[in-house]
Amino acid sequence: MQTEPILRVEGLRTTFSGDEGTAVAVDDVSFDVNAGEIVGLIGESGSGKSVTALAIMGLLPKDTARVTAERILFDGHDLVRASEREMRRLRGRAIGMIFQEPMSSLNPVLKIGDQLIEPIRIHERISHRAAFDRGVELLSKVGIPSPIQRMNDYPHQLSGGMRQRVMIAIALSCSPKLLLADEPTTALDVTIQAQLLDLLLEIQSETKMAIVLITHSMGVIAECADKVVVMYSGRIAEQGPVTEIFDRPGHPYTKGLMQCTPELTGNPRRLTTIPGSLPSLSALPPGCRFAPRCGLALPTCEAGRPPMIGLRGTHASACIRADELVAAAAQPEEADA
């Protein structure tokens, strides 16, 4: 076990400015990713999870987005202060990325092979021939049948699942230490999702790269993650080891999320719901952002931002009643009033 994390995000803040003023999409987000670890970043639409990934990669548009952080340490580099040249050297080589839309993240007028070879030839001084061979090897590794023929195909000739496999192959082409996967299976059918998650896990156990897996599905988290970061409305609600989060959620939002997912085990007549909807970024509540929807909210919750409270081990929650929640979860099935 390495003691230094491969990625350390501290105090990440991202603001977007437009005609209607500025909006803080990510507000003071901090988390660590250790080498060989899969960190699940979960949240609903607008929670800031994708923006977090793009900010780490330095891929947000410079004219509208402002990214600040105490630091984003990746393998000895501070990504917030890195020059564009330095970032270019890291992106695609030390850090790979997969996006949600397998339809739009590949160039439709370039052959699969050319898109696969491009990052290899940019980052490594090897011949076209050697890069081509590596590409074929990568395609077969991600489970694409007849890889040599596929190198000459265009993206539209492949199905969504196959395109996402190509994306994974491209992301893996220079053996990255860290992979940012932004909803890699959301657009896919459940049997294809299962195949791809298996593939990612298999490659991960082989290469020991770290993965930040962004998702909105508790099921995907349960299936893959070692550690979970729960985001709500631009802030971290809770983070900790995956079994800890599932057994003893320390934030009412996490607990609510789990209760309103109709899981396969246990099938209540009525689902427990979280009332209301996510706050708009232009009208955020002053204190805890979940307070207006929270059944446990106290007057103090609306007054100021709740601090991160440390629970067992690395588990921490931004809820002033976290201890109560965890204690209640320890008791077997206390009735949810």
């Binding site: 609903e44 099921g219 995907v220 309103c260 719901t273």
Partner: protein, 330 residues
């Protein structure tokens, strides 16, 4: 519950002819929906699941004749909808409604909520403006929206609220049967649960029947009484939901269920995965359409299409070897 089902679908088919984009010559037939049959009783929810392109949404639209079927029967309260002329159809459509998937594109952005919700009433006729407005207010209240927002436009609402508007519109003409076509799929999970509960409450209050089309198997399990599974345009299994989820008989249903992510990290483990991908519905294989991916397929499967047949109770399955597979599993 009466004995005769509210809706009875028999051998419903829709085949699209594919033409070459340049020459206009026929290059094949897509059997989007092929000989689909099922019943839905009064007050019952039939879940319809399957992967993209399996024909579940097309089936829903065929029932309302939003797409014209090629073949089959859709008996609604004993009347065959496919035999009706335009005037008769319009009359019966008030009893059959649909809620669409995308709350952003299924509401006209230039119409107020009042116009949207009262449009079905307006088309049916026989109500004054004031009565219609009264009814719209009542409906908004029913679906959990503020009746005072009746003059607002769709863009002023969130996705979940828009879906509620779509539900209010479907309820306006006092239907018996609603097709919910991926009605909660586009919503965030915290909002999705609210809309599922709403649909269940409305069903109880108005004794509605639903055809609940979705790709999310957990949601379908939650809301349905019975579930039908489709693969490449055909129904491969129909059963009471508990029977289907606890003892699936078709290899495809088994594979679908095995692909659902686990509910808790402690339940992780290697499970049998279905290889390959859904093949094209263009010129499907002559035998069982699942035979190309089925781990149990034998020669007969590749030659003879299995008919949907009755097993114990109300469990129907289209597999030559359903009994053998079941015995092997036990």
């Amino acid at each position: 519950m009466s004995n005769a089902p509210l809706l009875s679908v028999r051998d419903l088919s829709k085949h699209f002819t594919m033409r070459s984009p340049f020459r206009g010559t026929t290059i094949g037939t897509v059997q989007a929906v092929n000989r689909v049959s099922f019943d839905i009783a009064e007050g019952e929810t039939l879940g319809l699941v399957g992967e993209s392109g399996c024909g579940k949404s097309t089936t829903g639209r065929l029932l309302l004749r939003l797409i014209e079927p090629n073949n089959g029967k859709v008996l609604f309260q004993g009347q065959d909808l496919l035999q009706l002329d335009a005037r008769q159809l319009k009359k019966i459509r008030k009893s059959i409604q649909i809620v669409f998937q995308d709350p952003f594109s299924s509401l006209n952005p230039r119409m107020t909520v009042e116009d949207i919700v009262t449009e079905p009433l307006y088309l049916q006729g026989g109500m004054s403006r004031r009565e219609m407005r009264e009814r719209a207010r009542m409906l908004l209240d029913k679906v959990g929206l503020n009746a005072a927002h009746i003059t607002r436009f769709p863009h002023e609402f969130s996705g979940g609220q828009r879906q509620r508007i779509g539900i209010a519109r479907a309820l306006a003409a006092d239907p018996r049967f609603i097709v919910c076509d991926e009605a909660v799929s586009a919503l965030d999970v915290s909002v999705q649960a609210q809309v599922i509960n709403l649909l269940q409450d409305l069903q109880e209050e108005f004794n509605l029947s639903y055809l609940f089309i979705a790709h999310d198997l957990s949601v379908v399990r939650h809301i349905s009484d019975r579930v039908a599974v489709m693969y490449l345009g055909e129904v491969v299994e129909i059963a009471d939901k508990n029977a289907l989820y606890s003892a699936p008989r078709h290899p495809y249903t088994q594979a679908l269920l095995a692909a659902i992510p686990v509910a808790h990290p402690r339940l992780r483990g290697k499970r049998a995965r279905l290889g390959g991908e859904v093949s094209s519905a263009l010129n499907p294989p002559p035998g069982c359409r699942f035979s190309l991916r089925c781990p149990f397929a034998r020669d007969v499967c590749r030659q003879q299409p299995p008919a949907l047949r009755q097993l114990d109770g109300r469990h129907q399955v289209a597999c030559h070897f359903a009994e053998d597979l079941h015995a092997a599993a036990a």
